[in-house]
């Protein structure tokens, strides 16, 4: 098994075409071996969107064991790689990534990082957080999402709505649901992107059952 992983890792490192790299990344993801994590994180820096999507999927499948390596290896100077790493952390939903996601959603200069972080804030798996910390963390997440819903970029506002919807679902509608509905209403009144109004409408219809 170990030899096989090494071979698959080398195949990723040696790939010299886009398709070759994509195939190698998919093969490496398929074995779901912990030793592959570091290589998959490296792939996020290659500026190859197809391979990056596959690597992100692989890291998300890997789940919690990938969180620390991603947090350690996030490349602060490459916004493409940072966006993909944020996507992976968002998809895993481990609360250890919460600080990074909050900071990224609110402060990153790259809109692709802000949008994946906003979505990720809605996907935190609260059951993995000690109850005593969760209430405060939920308050922070909600406040951040409400703030991000005012982002100047449409796609980040869109992601904030998705984040708010998922946040309400992840808390079973028990955490300040009315505040979310109020914000949706406010947004609809000031928003000039029809796509965002449609996404709000969808979120409202999904969340209606908690009211």
């Amino acid at each position: 098994m170990e030899n096989h992983v090494t071979e698959l890792i080398q195949a990723v490192e040696k790939a010299d075409t886009s398709e070759g790299l994509l195939d190698a990344v998919k093969a490496l993801c398929a074995i779901r071996h912990q030793a592959a994590i570091s290589t998959l994180i490296d792939v996020l820096k290659y500026n190859n969107p197809g391979a990056a999507v596959a690597a992100v999927d692989g890291l998300i499948e890997m789940g919690d064991i990938a969180v620390s390596p991603i947090l350690e290896q996030v490349d602060g100077y490459n916004y493409g790689a940072r966006a993909w790493a944020t996507r992976a952390l968002a998809g895993i939903g481990d609360p250890r990534a919460l600080e990074l996601l909050l900071d990224a959603a609110l402060n990153d200069f790259s809109l692709s990082v802000r949008r994946s972080a906003a979505k990720g804030l809605g996907g935190i798996r609260w059951e993995k957080m000690p109850l005593k910390d969760a209430t405060r963390a939920k308050q922070e997440v909600l406040a951040a999402l409400l703030k991000v819903s005012q982002d100047p970029e449409w796609v980040v506002r869109y992601a904030a709505i998705v984040g708010l919807e998922n946040f309400a679902i992840s808390t079973d509608g028990t955490f300040q649901l009315e505040e979310i509905f109020t914000r949706f209403q406010e947004m609809r009144e000031s928003e000039n992107e029809p796509v965002i109004c449609a996404r709000i409408q969808l979120a409202e219809s999904v969340l209606d059952k908690y009211r």
């Binding site: 790259s110 809109l111 979505k119 796509v195 409408q201 969808l202």
Partner: protein, 272 residues
């Protein structure tokens, strides 16, 4: 991964007064060039800005070594972003400029402004048809900015140009083929033209896939939603393309969300 808007966050900030002053002075061509771009980027629709930009379309001072007119190019682009109807006659004149890039910027600008009076001048540039649409010796471009011309004719609803456009589906350059397919879809609503662009999403070249994504978003071809989601390209571009599809679809819908709308949003959610 590229988010084009992000490159702009490092540009120096101006005030409207500074930009206008920079555009008016003649000593520093770099400042004028940047000011023209800036006025478009920040949608400064003040009459004074428009007058100055129209004036800059006739600039003689800012020249490249091979005779190009950089300031004219930026001024044309800016006037397009400002959707300035007043600039249409001067932009039509620019379609005859000897600088290819001025003609290209003018065609894009006329598309954005959306005034039909430029249609005959655009059609003129298709003279000689696809046989004449060859590369200029020693230059990296074709005889005319065909992509921009075809796209403009499509957006402007130039149905009398359909027969002129059709042969460009067989042009040797893929991007020109896509521009023709895009225009023909807009002019006829026939799926075969939209499907030609979906096919392009399967191509080997990332640049061409990006180009097809932008075209599909621009025409709002709903059948392309899943192929857009699945093509190998940046999520940012896929999101922009899907936004175009959804916007177009929402225009035709009543207040209730259709299943198609929900499906497009589900795809968009997956790309965030």
């Amino acid at each position: 991964m590229s988010d084009f808007a992000e490159y702009e966050s490092n540009s120096p900030s101006l005030t409207v007064e500074q930009a206008l002053a920079n555009l008016q002075q003649k000593d520093d061509s770099g400042l004028r060039y940047y000011a023209a771009w800036w006025l478009g980027r920040f949608r400064v629709k003040e009459p004074e800005a428009i007058t100055m930009l129209i004036d800059a379309l006739g600039d003689q001072t800012d020249r490249t070594p091979d005779g190009g007119y950089p300031l004219r190019r930026n001024a044309a682009t800016a006037l397009g972003k400002l959707e300035s109807i007043a600039a249409v006659p001067a932009l039509i004149d620019c379609l005859a400029c000897e600088d290819y890039y001025v003609r290209e910027s003018a065609a894009f600008a006329l598309e954005m402004i959306g005034d039909e009076q430029c249609i005959p001048a655009l059609i003129n540039l298709l003279d000689g048809g696809v046989e004449a649409a060859v590369q200029v010796d020693g230059k990296p471009h074709l005889r005319q900015p065909y992509e921009a011309i075809l796209e403009a004719l499509g957006t402007l609803g130039a149905r009398n140009a359909i027969l002129m456009i059709e042969p460009f589906l067989a042009h040797s350059t893929e991007k020109v083929q896509y521009a023709a397919a895009r225009a023909l879809y807009q002019l006829t609503g026939e799926n075969r033209y939209g499907d030609r662009l979906i096919q392009a999403l399967d191509g080997k070249d990332l640049q061409l896939r990006r180009s097809a994504l932008m075209d599909l978003g621009a025409i709002g071809y709903l059948n392309a939603a899943d192929p857009i989601y699945n093509t190998l390209a940046e999520n940012s571009l896929k999101l922009i393309a899907l936004k175009g599809l959804l916007e177009n679809h929402l225009k035709q819908q009543s207040d209730a969300l259709s299943d198609q709308s929900k499906h497009v949003m589900e795809l968009m959610d997956g790309l965030l």
